[in-house]
Symmetry: D2
Subunit: 426 residues, 4 copies
């Protein structure tokens, strides 16, 4: 038996838009890069989501400047032989690995002026942490005393939209922007943008059209999946996608070595280049048969596994950090979980940005608890205690350790301790 | 060794307000019912949340009429010897069991005019399912072909608020009501209400005062826990609470034999009377030491355990059922997960109300996936496939089974199939 | 719904042989005590295996004198309606709990002259530890600093033998005794013995016959199960038994709150009185259909759950404690695992008998690794580190704690440290 | 960061004895191949245990002829900087993977005249199955309808013996052979053998000496580990070895993609060439500190994970296949488990050799249950039901599938169904 066939390779010395087999917009007309037969197992290499823009160093300048029109360089699209609109495409993720030639990844907090993140109001600065991969484990010189196994997964997988679906996306996201942008300090939606559009081998008019119409890749979308950032959609998962165009035009990328639920810092998982081993199959007429309006999946049987009693778990409610009462808002509740975890973990010597990056990358469990007890929704955030090399239990004696620092932009240090108690009601 | 001491017993033939050892409001002045010594293990019996209002029958009339001023009959409050404001109260839940003399429980969808639930817009009617307990398992004649082990837990635990905290609660919830009630069809918050206030042995002026000022029990609140409905806060869990008044005045109740994440039908878990075995201890000055602004906990090591690859998992995004684009709203996303699961499961013969009750009670996993990919948040809902006695995998052949029905109010049947496709943009 | 029906109750103030619903021999003619219908869920109370001979105290005199003709007082036999020879009896263990009125159990090392145990050559004395039950947990004043959740199970379940099978048992065990007893210091098999035979309501000639012919209960036997001591055959398990006589005549007893794999100290689990909730069903002709020569089972989904990385695991090989080379002997290998664990754990202050009792009762994992690499078989013994309240990892600093002692016979203390290094080749 | 350093590479076109960095005997004088610094993470390639003797085809001739003097081509020995006798060497297995350039492995039943296996009396012939690796999964055209994730591990790791220990090994194994070989049909121990001895760069007198004195690699041995074949000693495990010579001289090999507990067919796991990522550290004086007479380990947190209720579990007792009563013999008991599993699984269409190979390679759990209930020891064998693509539960309807066949020697087919019932007492 010969080695498994690669249908796509990447060049780590070239930027994303120099690759003919990657694209960074969703559009039915992005040219197919290769064809995969049902049942065939293939390997697909993927760039990191920025297409080689980030360096393994101790400075966040590269991250500060990432242009959101130049991200999510996805491998594909791949035609799946025989797939037609209305079918269900089943992708079996047989493995996801970092590239042997690049045994590291990174996590970043985006600057508030450049996309921000879940806690941008408190942590507006740009920060970066590099993670080294040694076998199944990641460690970071920027977040010491932590080591964890990767629940490696693609942050982004999806089928191409039909023209109708694409139109629907653009319309509903524009509407949101029109109605609600004024209430927000950061972008509420990223609309089609010709600048820096890359669509594989497309050039000229076709490329321009894709740029004008193509949906941006940041949000996951119910109709096809996309940037879902589901940490448990890892090795061994079977994922079921609706097919909207002939061949399905499946794309994959934004690989993560590990991610915490929520991917809270936005560039938030351990971002990496890597290689996926997968096979595809088709359930004819599966959209109707399975009532498949959004992707669904069954995870694999191999995963990090800590035992329920090893999670220190924080509770959050939909009363925000100012003490304002929200109505059954899980988003507010989960933000409070994050804040509680930050306040707890800084006792050991980490600064807030380090913890922000930690919560974004480690195998953190973010669960919905109650969503009907008006007016408070409740969520939980569980931290596996075994990934620290010291004892973080509430009963343990606290010894502050030298935790170093994460990377910031040139010359800066934002090793802050944000005082949440000073916030007042708005 | 003698049997473990009961500090509280309940009478299943009497209503909640006939019990001197239970109360249904949060107030610092609710008289303590008993004292528990640190380190001592005790048993506490609890009424079901309605205080015996629901019958084991096939009619939902009893549920239709539940008055929300007469709910959450909690056992306690209990003074913990030595606890003082600023301490952390550690409750170790050593067991939670149904009462041997009442081996059944119930789940209800509340009528939209009486509280409603997470899917009240589509399922406004009242419905009920009775569950029989046989050892570790529950089954329901109203939701056939399903059997699952209970992850038994108290839906509600908390310490008493200080007068200041109570004031804060009342103020912020009133404010919400003032500002936002007009946008909602159901109550956004339940404010203090003298009617049907029950405060253990309190009578006369004291009772009246508690009724006027006492916080309602429906929402969990960050300062003390309360009605969190965290399904994993089960047997073996250690829970850490802030203490706000001398003795802590700990209360517990609203026991659940099992619950799905979200407790979506509101009366949403398998509600039951039962007995808790617990011990208490105190970390002096723990609020400051642990930065304990909200409860946190470590689950126990005994739990239902299905293996990751046994969960059929649905994805939901913050595009609502009308196709309207919401901004990073996990609540919207989780509602879409629920709808996807309903559409899928009805293929096997269940009607929508049965599935609604099922999702509310079975050990459903509701997880946060991504919460930064503007404008779409993503959540997942995982159903353990092993709790069905038929094959629900996407690959399985579908045979519709006779699924009977759940209980509705006298004479009614709402065995509906809601057509989500007919919803239009608002 | 009324409480679940008890088909058998026990009296904790009376000895085993005063109970008409229990028996201590296997024989087809033991009178049936009650009938269970297929599909019906019932409760069965069980005595502890000695039938109330052991006291909750700090002296092992009671254990020293346990007469092995007066043990295993099993509840039953129960007729299962419709069961006939050749059928498969399916028992679903819906729960196993200690009795609320007796929240404690015990573990004992039997004296070498009275049955001994797996390590009798090194630890010939009698020792005892009492365990207190608080909810799902057990602790022992005789083995401090350890707390674990019970994987509660019946040590013994089985169907009655047919006359032919009984004859086969007696013949093969007699043969063993004849051929090999001279090589052993303790009994190699316990043959039928009229003395202290108890067979429920049987009296006179019938009782005498059962005594003369009835198989002793100590060994599990392939044809029907019996005293298998399988710790994972716990709550939720479905167990499949061959039926050899009309009605199956199912018996159950020897309940364990917890046990380590191997049950090495013989009276080796946490022995307790308790109550089982179970239902029975029948697969007609199941012996042939399932090729069912020995019982098989599927465990339940609720169990203690520590995560693979929480087990400190010792390796043992079939080179015995004298350095003698055995041939692919798993029994020798597992004994070496036990010795390695004893030598390791005594670093923390426990004496050898305490550790012997610990390994016998805690949820220890005993696994077969390799059994073909001539001449050495290899086994492993895994200790869940989370059940200690101090750190037992190899990396941890060792502080000897005051570990008290277990109970011995009046006036004695055998808090020994056996010097395995002094053993010489035989 | 540069890719992780390889300290050893293998050539798949050359036989084991053409590699200067591998050896197939244990001896303190085998020349060290490289040095590893404590804390450094390195990669080590390993040959399959036969050193490239087995082909990916449908004929077992290659396996039939494997000479047991030409096996276990181990990578190493590696000096660990600073290690001295009496220290504890800690190996952290950060990953174990098949080689990308050889995505397949094999399992073999050795012919009874060439080593045999655990069931050699019933299955004396040679058989082979090829497994293809696709990501984390293995499938075999020779055992259809089964797919499982690999719990990849080195079957063999160990430190070099001191001259004294080597002498002890040779003496005790010779003694066994002298005393007991006459009772066995296959070899009870493999003594030193100059023929085909390979010791890395050693030549001439040194090689001859190593051949004359060097211990064979088949058995694991308590003093240093060696061929333990512990399936759970997989990715993420930390393993603690005694050091007996300066530098420790650590060797590793015999990689397995997957193995069932017991590795029953001898060439019994999925044997493969592969690459290990590991780091080493030293606990000075660790042998005395940890009472380390045999290796111990803590598994990693990433593993196949099926949930307890997904194992169909067979019970075995120490009454052998002839009905002869053995005394507390776990080896006999485990053999009965295997036979029960074979009799059960053949209902679905597999022949006995296929099942033998299956039990040897799939993630089968072999556990010790009771080892004190004279005269019967009890073991269990658990099969994860999820690895079949059809339903193997006892309740499922049986449909015989076309199961093809495994490979046998040229021209032969031994697709037998051994009739265990015909065996008579010896």
């Amino acid at each position: 038996m010969t080695p498994i066939k690669y249908v796509s390779k990447v060049d780590l010395t070239k930027s994303g838009d120099q690759h003919p087999g990657v694209h960074n917009r969703w559009h039915p007309d992005v040219p197919s890069f290769a064809t995969i037969k049902p049942g065939e197992t293939v390997k697909i290499e993927c760039l990191d989501w920025t297409g080689n823009q980030i360096k393994n160093d101790d400075c966040a300048d590269d991250l500060r400047n990432v242009d959101l029109t130049r991200i999510h360089y996805l491998s594909g699209p791949f035609d799946i032989e025989g797939a037609e609109p209305g079918d269900c495409l089943v992708i079996e993720l047989k493995d996801v690995q970092p590239l042997e030639r690049r045994p590291w990844g990174y996590c970043g907090v985006f600057h508030k002026e450049n996309g921000g993140g879940f806690l941008e109001k408190f942590y507006p600065e740009c920060a970066k942490a590099i993670f080294d991969f040694e076998g199944i484990y990641a460690t970071s010189r920027h977040i010491p005393h932590v080591k964890f196994a990767g629940l490696v997964h693609p942050g982004l997988m999806g089928t191409a939209p039909s023209p109708e679906i694409l139109k629907e996306w653009n319309s509903r996201e524009s509407e949101l922007k029109e109605k609600h942008q004024h209430q927000h300090e950061t972008e509420v939606a990223l609309l089609p943008e010709e600048k820096n559009c890359h669509a594989g081998s497309a050039t000229g008019d076709l490329l321009a059209k894709i740029g004008r119409e193509g949906a941006r890749t940041v949000p996951g979308r119910p109709e096809h999946g996309g940037n879902c950032d589901i940490k448990n959609l890892s090795r061994g998962s079977k994922c079921y996608f609706p097919v909207h165009v002939k061949g399905a035009k499946f794309s994959i990328g934004d690989l993560h070595f590990s991610q915490g639920d929520g991917e809270i810092s936005f560039c938030g998982a351990i971002e990496m280049a890597g290689v996926v081993t997968l096979s595809a199959s088709i359930i004819k007429g599966g959209v109707e048969k399975l009532k498949l309006k959004s992707p669904m999946y069954v995870p694999g049987e191999v995963a990090n596994h800590y035992g329920p009693s090893r999670y220190l778990t924080f509770e959050g409610f939909s009363v925000d950090e100012h003490g304002d009462q929200k109505f059954l808002c899980l988003t507010t509740a989960y933000r409070q979980c994050c804040i509680r975890a930050i306040e707890y973990l800084r006792r050991f010597g980490y600064n807030d940005y380090q913890i922000y990056l930690f919560l974004s990358t480690a195998p953190i469990e973010g669960h919905i608890a109650g969503v009907v007890d008006v007016p408070n929704a409740c969520t939980t955030l569980g931290i596996p205690m075994d990934i620290f090399d010291f004892d973080i239990r509430p009963e343990a004696e606290v010894k502050k350790l030298d935790m170093g620092n994460c990377a910031f932009v040139s010359g800066a240090s934002h090793a802050v301790t944000f005082d949440f108690d000073k916030l007042e009601k708005k």
